[in-house]
């Protein structure tokens, strides 16, 4: 049985139709000692099946050390949302409830190559000259 609800599938498919360029979800997980590891992977697999422009790559956090280093992943489950370019967008944990929508939004933004920020914000950010790492803590609702 799917983790995504049947009644939501149509709406998700409809939203994904707005995708322009292909998006890849690069997912890191591990077999043991991960409370929601299996569920997280399953949700991403179901999601990837809803659009031809959306794909999923899965790596083992403990075994695929080269990829872990490449993406700078330090905890799992981790999901990188990227297109031909890695914008530094990561989701850590199971995207449940409202946070599923956060992941959908990220997929759409990355696909369109548009952050959705206003012109003034983009102007300010274009002057940024040093690393800025944001970690936003959320809970499923």
């Amino acid at each position: 049985m799917g983790l995504l609800r049947e009644e939501d599938l149509q709406e998700i498919r409809r939203r994904l139709e707005a995708m322009t360029t292909p998006v890849k979800m690069v997912h890191f997980t591990q077999e043991l000692n991960l409370e929601y590891g299996r569920e997280t992977r399953q949700v991403l697999e179901e999601l990837a099946g809803l659009s031809e422009k959306l794909s999923l790559e899965v790596y083992d956090f403990l075994l695929d050390k080269e990829k872990v280093a490449k993406y700078g992943v330090d905890k799992v489950p981790a999901t990188i949302i990227r297109n031909g370019k890695d914008y530094g967008i990561r989701y850590y944990g199971l995207p449940a409830g409202y946070e599923f929508s956060t992941v959908l939004d990220a997929i759409l933004d990355v696909s369109k190559g548009e952050s959705g920020l206003g012109a003034e914000s983009r102007e300010k950010l274009s002057h940024l000259s040093q690393p800025l790492h944001l970690e936003v803590f959320v809970t499923p609702t």
């Binding site: 967008i89 002057h127 800025l132």
Partner: protein
Amino acid sequence: MESEHITADCIEATEFPDLVTRYRVQAVPRTVINQEHALEGSMPEEHFLDTILGAVQPPEEGAKA
């Protein structure tokens, strides 16, 4: 996406209790900036951005840029 310098993580708090402890996350959303500054709650885009940029670069540098 608007700057090569930015990386953005969304972290499901209940799955990473040690980070919650380290960053003293008591309410969500809580945004941690460069592992040292933090801001709580959601706010309008402009205010959010100014707070973040204020945390990473001194005002005079921001004015010059």
